[in-house]
């Protein structure tokens, strides 16, 4: 195996192992997601028609907020203990190492949200056809959330009150993903063709995958300077 692949595999393994040994890190965003979505039936009453109407938006907004919650641990620990310097001085493109870290972040926060979303969809009385659409839209959308969030996390690294700043920086950028993600689910409920929504989400993901790791790497170099 070439050294680059070995380094990437090792870094991915490292992030997953550290998170597994600190299981609260994985559970916090997931539990937050479940609780926020569960508050709505409690607050609005169990009327299926109302819940069905608001479900796509509620679940998607909760997913955005849950991702936000986990962003600060993406680079902060590595920055504090000096690992990030070592990554910047590694003989490999920093953008690829950053992409590896983002992939690990998604596997630990985005993927669990996707997996638990059908359960919440049932709770919100979504029709069966919309459940698959919801999971699929989250599967396409959550990686974009992690990629965009990484730029914000890198820019605010080492700043006081960085957590709040990340939200202000990143949440406006999340709006297109929210619109098309929630829109696709709402479209299925209303019986509209949602192919365009998915094409756009796929295009966003392709664009984010190609550009944002480089932007994040550049932001990290500035933060380390």
């Amino acid at each position: 195996m070439p050294k680059l692949l070995k380094a990437i595999a090792r870094l991915f393994w490292r992030d997953l192992t550290v998170a597994m040994r600190r299981s609260t890190d994985i559970l916090t965003p997931l539990v937050f997601f479940v609780i926020v979505v569960s508050l709505f039936p409690l607050g609005l009453g169990p009327e299926p028609v109302v819940l069905r109407t608001i479900a796509p938006g509620v679940i998607w907004v909760a997913a955005l907020l849950a991702t936000m919650l986990s962003l600060n641990r993406l680079f902060a620990n590595d920055y504090a203990d000096g690992t990030l310097e070592q990554m910047a001085l590694a003989p490999y493109p920093l953008a690829l190492l950053v992409l590896t870290k983002i992939a690990a972040h998604w596997a630990l926060t985005g993927l669990p949200l996707v997996l638990i979303s059908p359960l919440l969809a049932v709770q919100m009385h979504l029709p069966e056809t919309a459940i698959a659409t919801l999971a699929l839209s989250l599967l396409l959308g959550t990686p974009i959330l992690s990629l965009l969030g990484a730029v914000g996390a890198a820019l605010t690294l080492g700043l006081r009150g960085g957590g709040v700043l990340v939200s202000l920086l990143v949440l406006p950028l999340y709006t297109p993903i929210l619109i098309f993600g929630a829109g696709s689910v709402a479209g299925v409920i209303a019986g509209i063709d949602t192919e365009a929504h998915f094409s756009l989400l796929g295009a966003f993901l392709a664009l984010a995958l190609t550009l944002l790791p480089w932007a994040t790497a550049a932001a990290l170099r500035v933060s380390l300077d």
Partner: protein, 203 residues
């Protein structure tokens, strides 16, 4: 091999030093001294390429390091103030991640290196239970396992006990004997017998 040409470094608005030039050949050690806040760490980070110099440049084999990029990084081992240790991983896991990140995947050496630095007994414990000095030793273990020619070390002896400090001196001498280059900041005297030791004092 490593040349600094007319370096000028600025931290915020404050100029630290200017017109700093030196050149370091294989087997030579450069000992940087100076008061706290005089710019030793900034100089070292500039030599690594982490911080951009305000003016002047750093060259490796005659080529500016920002042009060499990853080719220069492949020759360089840097130990800064941070130890780069993840507390939830064991010392062996930490070292194997660092070694594969550095591109010199000599995984077989890890057990031997930990033993040499007196960390073998902590093989299965998370690194967070290590003391400050032991964490420092683990950070320095990276140097031994990686086999890079250029070592840039920021206060490597801080927190080390007398025995570990003398072990570290031995390791430094071995590296110089093999034709390595070392740039080091330290408030302690470093008793390395070598053909050349350069001293830079930053005021």
């Amino acid at each position: 091999m490593l040349e600094a040409v007319d370096l000028e470094c600025v931290r915020g608005d404050r100029p630290l030093f200017s017109h700093l030039s030196f050149s370091l050949e294989p087997g030579e050690l450069l000992h940087v001294t100076g008061a706290n806040g005089s710019g030793k760490t900034t100089l070292l980070r500039t030599l690594c390429g982490l911080t951009r110099a305000h003016a002047g440049e750093v060259r490796w084999h005659g080529t500016a390091i920002h042009k060499l990029g990853d080719d220069f990084h492949a020759q360089l081992a840097y130990v800064g103030h941070g130890n780069g240790i993840q507390g939830d991983l064991t010392p062996a896991e930490n070292l194997s991640v660092a070694v594969s990140l550095s591109g010199s995947a000599d995984i077989a050496q890890i057990g031997k290196t930990l033993e040499r630095l007196g960390l073998a007994a902590y093989h299965h414990f998370p690194a967070k239970i290590l003391s400050q000095g032991q964490k420092r030793r683990l950070a320095l273990a990276r140097l031994v396992a990686e086999h890079k020619p250029l070592w840039i070390l920021d206060e490597p002896l801080s927190g080390l006990d007398v025995d570990s400090a003398s072990l570290m001196t031995t390791i430094l001498m071995e590296h110089l004997a093999q034709g390595g280059l070392i740039i080091i900041t330290s408030h302690q005297d470093i008793n390395v017998e070598t053909k050349t030791t350069l001293h830079i004092r930053i005021n």
